[in-house]
């Protein structure tokens, strides 16, 4: 018998006592959303929770976006900027930094030399202060938001904001590789105290752009 068959046979033997007993339903009476918010209030909550986990939050509108991004990268001293395919060119029109494309052939060491990365996202979850990237247009490969030390993520509000995790799961496609980001890289491994900044980007800036 293969190990696969052995394990499956053991499982069947172990659960034999379930046969003929009624199938209990999973209770789904937990809340779909915690609170009743207008779209604007959801965006406010997102901003609050992002900031609570030490992300730097900025707000603007479509017109102000290029100027704001140019200022953020200038203040950071960004000389090289990773830009994934599908990012609206207008976003970076005013940025004064060398563009580095997201290429399969790039090595991790090459990416380690890049100063900053700019992406969009698939959605953001207000109640937890979470950004979700699904490698779609304007988001790039998973590693580009990991290796550079500075990540700027643009969220189109309110359309990309959901309130809760149950709402997020409905919108996300499990077939895509997903990265959920809630604040910059952190650890609680030393005396269970939270310290920001371990392996991922130590600075996370989130731009909430009204469109």
């Amino acid at each position: 018998m293969s190990s696969r068959e052995t394990i499956l046979a053991r499982v069947r033997a172990a659960t034999r006592d379930a046969a003929g007993t009624p199938e209990p339903a999973v209770p789904r009476d937990y809340l779909r959303v915690h609170g009743d918010r207008s779209p604007a209030e959801s965006v406010d909550l997102l901003a609050e929770n992002l900031a609570d986990y030490r992300a730097l939050v900025h707000r603007t509108d479509t017109g102000g976006l290029p100027g704001l991004l140019a200022r953020l990268f200038a203040e950071r001293g960004t000389r090289t900027l990773l830009v994934p395919d599908g990012l609206p060119p207008a976003w970076t029109a005013a940025v004064d930094a060398d563009r580095v494309p997201d290429r399969a052939a790039s090595t991790a060491r090459e990416l380690d030399a890049v100063d900053s990365v700019l992406t969009g996202c698939a959605l953001a979850v207000a109640e937890t202060g979470t950004l979700v990237l699904d490698a779609g247009p304007g988001q790039g490969r998973r590693r580009i938001t990991l290796i550079p030390d500075h990540h700027v993520c643009v969220v189109r509000v309110p359309e990309q904001v959901v309130d809760s995790l149950p709402q997020a799961m409905e919108r996300l496609d499990p077939a895509r590789p997903l990265t959920w980001i809630s604040g910059p890289s952190a650890t609680s491994d030393i005396e269970l105290d939270r310290v920001e900044g371990v392996h991922g980007p130590r600075t996370l800036e989130v731009v909430l752009a009204t469109v």
Binding site: P24, H34, A104, R141, L146, S185, G197, H199
Partner: protein, 505 residues
């Protein structure tokens, strides 16, 4: 590749299994040693008390916590009830997504599979994301014997590995070390494993984190193979889910060419939607956060993004035996949040090492004797490493009635009975007069003789009971049980204690 110098032998790490350097002491001896260590006790008290308060606050933010908890328990029970079906579904989905699925009945087989897979890549080192399953099977030691070096990349695991130590907590394996001790370990040992610690390293947590960042960066950027576990596997979509904080997980999951995930068979959940429950329960119970900094999900290798080869090793290693026990099987709901450790008065005083396995604290006291059996003195003593105060049950996000299982396992040790070993029914004799019983007695005495621990535990639960959900039905004797369970059963243990105290030990 970095790190492995010509002719250098991979060093065998310490392990709970295989060939430990010293025979593991039964719980009471190890616990006594720990309670006499004032630094250790201070470190543990500080850390567990910090996280307790934060967890309570994070949980209180969700008015539907008790309903989420009930849903989490029910989803896990449904998973266990139909585990064969969900495993086959998972296998089909992972395979369809381009991954490879392997099955391992025990630790030896899992280690052999991983060793072979690493060898096939030609690599002689791997980077690892913290994984309970690989600790349980002693993977690092098995790889070392095959000449493959495994680098732990979680900060706490790194501290443990550099310090030639053993993990003592599920979430924070180095919880028994304070910042000064960690600084010393980094300063003295980092150079042996790669990039040395920065000169003049201080003991501020931020400095220590920075030292780890620099040390591990080299390993990540050059790694060809990674080994991970997973928090959840989604049967319908073949999706693997890893929650983490530091980004070491993302490094391991996206930079190497080959990714090998070793995961216990009970980690499957039926549907994608089920994650909406567990992604609310786990971070708040574990690190007391609304959401942990990073969560990665993937379904097979992604095109042109991350590892080209993905292998999933499904591990039994005693889980099907546990599943056949009608009372004990609820331990398989565990999502390894570690909340039960943080509230346990016995864990706080004894420390994690006393439990002698990768799973310390209350969950270890019920899981280890089921995964490994109760033949050894250590494993027979574990069900006695508790005051049955019930605090563990109250915080458990999947409502595992740990006291109920403890009492059940005590009965098994004291009175014998029928249970399943490697898929076959076996009858065990009562431990009466054996080393196992003496160890159990000493463990019982150790906890009973600590009135402060006992009293504190009782106060801890009675003081907060109002805030906690009503007891949930256990998966219990029948799969469809809907009755309330009896209150935390203290009496049987006390009766047993009075009857046997002074006899045989």
């Amino acid at each position: 590749m970095t790190g492995a110098r010509e002719g250098e032998r991979a060093r065998a790490p310490r392990t709970f299994l295989g060939m430990p350097r010293t025979r593991p002491a039964a719980f009471p001896q190890a616990a006594v040693a720990a309670t006499e260590d004032a630094t250790l006790r201070g470190n543990l008290t500080h850390a567990t008390h910090t996280i307790r308060g934060k967890r309570a606050a994070a949980v209180a933010e969700l008015p539907d916590w008790d309903r989420l908890r009930a849903a989490g328990a029910a989803i896990k029970d449904d998973t266990l009830r139909h585990l064969d079906r969900y495993l086959e579904q998972l296998e089909a989905a992972v395979t369809a997504a381009g991954g490879h699925v392997h099955w391992a009945v025990d630790a030896a087989e899992a280690n052999a599979i991983v060793t072979r897979l690493v060898r096939e890549t030609g690599a002689d080192e791997v980077v690892k994301v913290k994984s309970m399953a690989t600790q349980e099977i002693g993977l690092n030691e098995a790889l070392a014997e095959a000449g493959i070096r495994a680098y732990e990349t979680d900060l706490a695991e790194l501290i443990v590995q550099l310090g030639d130590d053993l993990p003592s907590h599920i979430l924070v394996p180095a919880i028994h070390k304070n910042r000064g001790e960690i600084r010393d370990i980094f300063r003295d040992r980092m150079a042996d494993w790669g990039r040395p610690a920065p000169a003049g390293l201080g003991d501020r947590p931020a400095e220590l984190a920075e030292a780890a960042r620099l040390h591990l960066r080299e390993k990540f950027l050059g790694a060809k193979v990674a080994v991970s576990g997973a928090n959840f596997m989604v049967a319908e979509s073949g999706t693997m889910v890893v929650l983490e904080s530091e980004g070491n997980g993302r490094m391991c999951l996206t930079l190497p060419e080959t990714l090998i995930s070793v995961v216990g068979i009970e980690k499957v959940v039926p549907t994608w939607r089920d994650l909406e429950v567990f992604l609310q329960l786990l971070p708040r119970s574990s690190t007391a956060e609304r959401m942990n900094p990073y969560t990665s999900t993937w379904s097979g290798p992604a095109e042109d993004d991350g590892p080209r080869d993905f292998h999933l090793v499904l591990l039994d290693n005693g889980r099907t035996d546990t599943l056949s026990d009608q009372v004990g099987r609820q331990a398989l709901r565990c999502i390894r949040c570690s909340a039960c450790l943080n509230v346990c008065p016995v864990y706080e005083r004894a420390g994690g090492h006393a439990y002698g396995s990768a799973y310390p604290g209350p969950i270890g006291a019920i899981l280890t004797p089921q995964l490994r059996g109760t033949a050894s003195a250590l494993d027979a003593s574990l069900p006695y490493a508790s005051t049955l105060c019930g605090a563990c049950y109250e915080v458990c996000p999947v409502a595992i009635d740990i006291p109920e299982v403890l009492v059940h396992l005590r009965t098994r040790v004291a009175e014998g009975g029928t249970y399943t070993v490697r898929g076959t029914k076996a009858v065990i004799k009562p431990a009466k007069g054996h080393a196992a019983e003496r160890a159990a007695m000493r463990a019982a005495r150790w906890t009973m003789d600590r009135p402060r621990a006992y009293g504190a535990a009782l106060r801890a639960t009675t003081g907060t009971r109002r805030l906690h959900p009503r007891r949930l039905p256990g998966p219990g004797k029948a799969w469809s049980a809907t009755r309330d369970l009896p209150p935390v059963p203290q009496e049987p243990f006390r009766a047993w204690w009075r009857r046997t105290r002074g006899a045989g030990s």
